[in-house]
Amino acid sequence: MATRPLYIPVILGTVRAGRMSLHAAQLVTGELAGRTGVETELIDIAEVPLPTNDAGEAIKDPQFSDRMSRADALVIVAPEYNHGYPGLLKHVLDSCLKEYIHKAVGIVGVSAGPFGGTREIENLLPVMRELGLVTIFWDVNFCSVQKVFAMDGKLRDEAYIFRIDKFLKELIWMAKTLRYGREQISLTNTVH
């Protein structure tokens, strides 16, 4: 297996002013950055320059596309808005397609209420599948996020470090497994 590091960017999936998901995304990015053999960065969808008068691969941003091509896995951090995921997150994700195929994805839900984005995550799962991404079954749910982080982004509840560790361990396992499959296991030479 190749020894180059895994590249696992974290996508911050909201552009709303005052977004508390930024703190969650920064926390997960920091936890990823501290792991041996992993490269990461935070991708803020507010900084992906896509028009809103068209959609899909026709408006692909070359830099975002290159990052998705290079990625071995993704972390998506997204808040729950009206029981769903943010529309602009879907807009950005839809701008790529082949870039995602057979790569791992883990989802971090964020909400001001008690459910921590569980409904938004459930809504995202079929989208992930159609994009070719492979979901893990650990999530991180930031419930009552305004209590989890101070306004300056400082984490108030250290229990989240343990949960993020479990989440990232499975994501990295899946990323390694899928990288091996993409690069070493042929679709056409599969044993029947």
């Binding site: 190749a2 899909g56 082949k98 057979h102 690069e183």
Partner: protein, 61 residues
């Protein structure tokens, strides 16, 4: 399958890439033409480079 005819070569490394997926591409998604899918789709072969991890694709023959 195109793989049996000609290997896909990584443009970065020059090594043979691994065919790991076939993906249906709905052309109506690209053009938003709204025409029936049975006349507006193709299958692309998806490849990955075992050396650099680079990706590639081409229409299936």
């Amino acid at each position: 399958m195109a793989l049996a005819v000609q290997k896909m070569i990584c443009p970065n490394c020059g090594v043979a890439m691994n065919h790991h997926c076939d993906k249906v591409i709905y052309l109506s998604q690209e053009s938003d033409g709204g025409r029936p899918f049975d006349t507006m789709e193709r299958i692309d072969e998806i490849y990955a480079c075992p050396n650099c991890g680079g990706m590639g694709s081409r229409p299936s023959e």
